[in-house]
Symmetry: C2
Subunit: 333 residues, 2 copies
């Protein structure tokens, strides 16, 4: 039987990971890639450079709180920011379907340019390809980004008692895209959280000099990211269900269609592990920033050596939050 | 009437240029982008960095002499090389259609990895997106690349008498893709020229210290590239039809379907302008390199201030080679 690519290969979950580890890494093997970081950490004439890329295929391309242009810039800025970097330059590759509205393209480029300005980056190179009608679905955008490190996080220092923080409500982006796609047909006050996180990260670093690690919970959501963060540490993470900030509207959509909010993508949030002694100062610094107003301390690292993520419910129960295996909603970014 | 994107917006010709100048540049305005170079020339902590990107949508994804993986690496390496750079690192963003053969993907990644090794670059970061069946046509690849400058070409010094050289036969790539797509149904010995040019450029630089400028004649072919090179110089270019190396098989396809070989894309060739005094040494150096074996001196810069490209025929006639306006064959890269 011929093996084929499935939608789950493009999720943030297990099959996506398998694709990377079984198809890509064995062929492209090099140390930088094998680190599976959000950004490659490179050395150039004595300077360090961070380099990352992401493609965007979100559907619909315009949604409440953003569009594919804003998303493409924020996604790449955020990968650099959570790697401890200051984002500097962005490339932009467009793949456009023949017949695509030029006015819509103008709006998207406008939005992309505004996000770049907000995020403090310049779009310095680009490329445009057009495919015939039916060859692609409207517009896809790839961005790659270059930044310089402003801090080195120390995931190797993760230890029991370290605190887990999140910078705001989770899942807004995926829920907003779902809402736009399904045309839920009623008024709902829910926008994507899509935003550039460079500024927030820059205020967090001086507040907590010993930050262990950061990630942005995009595909696969908080559940996938916490599982990735605890990998190879010999520790576990325990989070409190009622400490996790989630909007009522997001919970409503989850109830309606059976999504688990822990696996819903955000595009303007970050998750961070910091030593207990720095956690309160860090939380205060995050809350003082407009993009961290709803920041919360949601749990901690434990000595349990199984590298699992446990969710403790308000009723005293506990369940394992595993790495997602399928895909809740394709094409959310 | 709603304005729409057409296939010609993705060509190397006039509409593609209009899209850049009317939609992209006014919104993303910055000096680096406005230079419209093959690679952005950036300054980082006192070091210079070259940065470029290209997306690839070639159809079919496997063709004689290459595939989309090899092409994606060579295209980005070549943009860095003809900018006078040494390519170092490549990013790789995959957009895959649901149902795509995993075995085919493995072949493509294998080929991409081989091209990277041949071209002396490492693939250091990547991203995979999957879209539902019908949402994309098989596989698209974006690569971005980082390099460091090893020479500064001096297009500002272009002057009458300078020689125009090409590193090999032109149009092999587009003709080979056409052949694969149309399934011409007979044996033909014609492969794409797709190859990484970093090594060739590195041998040319010491041979001709005053090289004015280089470009790789991809979309729009030799015709588009010569028109771009002569822009804003106040000079013109005159090339000799019978000096241009073209394979018999490529001419055969052109005769068959009415293509103009001057507008056919190559993916492993470069065009170069150098002072007359260095031209012969440069030509010898190019011919001594495997990827320059068929290099030829095809014309020269003239004092004509109209910034035109003239083609002189063996019969003494002359015609203007204008910037292509349409698109001969979509999705050749």
């Amino acid at each position: 039987m011929e093996r084929k690519i499935s939608l789950a290969h493009g999720s943030g979950g297990k099959l996506a990971r398998d694709l990377i580890e079984e198809v890509l890494l064995p062929r492209l093997h090099n140390e930088t890639l094998e680190r599976l970081a959000d950004a490659a950490d490179l050395h150039l004439n004595g300077s360090r450079v961070l380099f990352t890329t992401d493609s965007f295929v979100v559907k619909p391309i315009e949604f409440p709180g953003g569009d594919i242009g804003k998303l493409a810039v924020c996604g790449t800025i955020n990968d650099l920011a959570v790697s401890g970097g200051r984002p500097l330059w962005i490339s932009c590759g467009l793949i456009i379907e023949e017949g695509f509205s030029l006015e819509c393209l103008e709006r998207i480029v406008e939005s992309l340019a505004r996000a770049a300005a907000d995020g403090g980056v310049s779009v310095v190179c680009g490329d445009t390809k057009v495919v015939e009608r039916g060859g692609a679905d409207g517009l896809f955008i790839n961005t790659a980004g270059i930044g310089i490190p402003i801090d080195d996080f120390t995931p190797g220092n993760i230890q029991p008692g370290d605190k887990v923080l999140v910078s705001g409500t989770i899942g807004d982006h995926e829920a907003a895209v779902f809402r736009a796609r399904e045309d839920l047909g009623r008024k709902m006050d829910l926008d994507s959280d899509c935003a550039p996180l460079g500024g927030l990260v820059a205020t967090m670093i001086p507040a907590a000099p010993s930050i262990r690690v950061m990630r942005d919970p995009t595909r696969g959501g908080l559940g996938a990211v916490l599982n990735e963060l605890i990998e190879r540490t010999g520790r576990s993470i325990s989070i409190e269900e009622d400490a996790i900030p989630i909007k009522r509207e997001v919970l409503g959509i989850c109830d309606l269609v059976g999504f688990d909010p822990l696996y819903l993508a955000s595009e303007g949030r970050l998750v961070c592990i910091a030593p207990a002694g720095e956690a309160q100062t860090l939380l205060a610094a995050m809350r003082a920033h407009p993009l961290g107003a709803d920041a919360a301390l949601i749990g901690e690292v434990t000595a349990d050596p199984h590298e699992r993520v446990y969710l403790r419910t308000p009723f005293g129960g506990s369940r394992i939050v595993s790495m997602p295996t399928g895909v809740q909603l394709p094409r959310i970014c």
